[in-house]
């Protein structure tokens, strides 16, 4: 229940992500979801079903505040981080990382690939490759954009770091796809 130096109750990751986003700018739940689907998508995801309840919690616990930001009849709730929220975020950032987790169904299917046959294994690799090839350009685009604002905003340097991670791993994935198909092709 208590992990030693950890003073924080139970840092739910969703809370931390939201607070992190709010620490940069005020946002609506909808906008938070959009950030998750773009900037964070390569290493973290969340659905409305977890975002909205979390926002309610955050406000209740005094880590964020909610205000009405309706514009010409379109209802909108804008959230801001509080001082306590910033303190909470800072405390979480100081804690060591608990878990980095990768769950690739593609690798699972490949591991048992013998039972499905070579052609099927290659199909799975191709599907994987296409997905990566489709996403890589977005990362490359983000890299270019971010490098231009490099010394305009410190925040972007950290963002760039995660983009570089995505690019490097995606490129490694593509190299693997090529090799893997060759390996399978050799013995057919």
């Amino acid at each position: 229940m208590d992990k030693g130096k950890n003073i924080m109750a139970t840092e739910k990751k969703i809370d931390c992500v939201i607070l992190g986003l709010l620490s940069h700018e005020d946002l609506t739940g909808y906008e938070i979801k959009k950030r998750m689907d773009t900037a964070l998508k390569y290493f973290w995801g969340a659905s409305y079903g977890s975002i909205y309840p979390a926002l309610g919690d955050l406000v209740e616990r005094g880590l964020a505040t909610k205000r009405d930001g309706a514009e010409n009849g379109r209802s909108k709730l804008i959230y801001s981080i509080t001082g306590e929220g910033r303190a909470y975020l800072k405390a979480w950032l100081a804690l060591p990382v608990e878990k980095d987790e990768l769950r690739y169904e593609t690798l699972l299917k490949l591991f048992f690939g013998k039972d499905g046959g070579e052609g099927q294994a290659i199909d799975h690799i191709n599907a994987f490759q296409e997905k990566i090839e489709k996403e890589l350009p977005y990362l490359l685009g983000a890299e270019k954009t971010l490098k231009n604002v490099f010394d305009m905003d410190e925040t972007h340097k950290y963002y760039l770091l995660t983009v570089e991670f995505g690019i490097k791993t995606y490129e490694a994935y593509l190299a693997w796809c090529k090799e893997a198909k060759e390996m399978l092709g050799l013995t057919e």
Copy 2:
């Protein structure tokens, strides 16, 4: 509820992993867990709390059978895959991959790294790097072993494929760690 060409009720991944392992050899629940903690650990994990109940289900559904394999007083339940189990596994392998998912808390903390400061960001990167450096030798060892049995057993070719994936990505991770620290060091 129904994903088109998918005849299978709801292919729970845990069932598929277990069937996959059982398709290679008969195993106890304990041994299945060990496989997950070694060979599969780089891309899939599971706890006893999910393995044992799943094994029970599999037997109930006729996809596996259970037999007593007690040895000198040590109780042991050995599971085997059935013909239906093999058919189920084959059907699952033929379906397209639904989701490959990566959740790296390290990247999350880095994304919001500005709020924690440069030193902290570097600490997180170093911790990540150490973890990778500790695990890479196991993958390299597995690679060597597998390459020796390459044409002895077709099954091992597929296993090798996943090991190569691990090696390639881990090497990319290490390259990124180096670059990331340089990037942070530059502007201090």
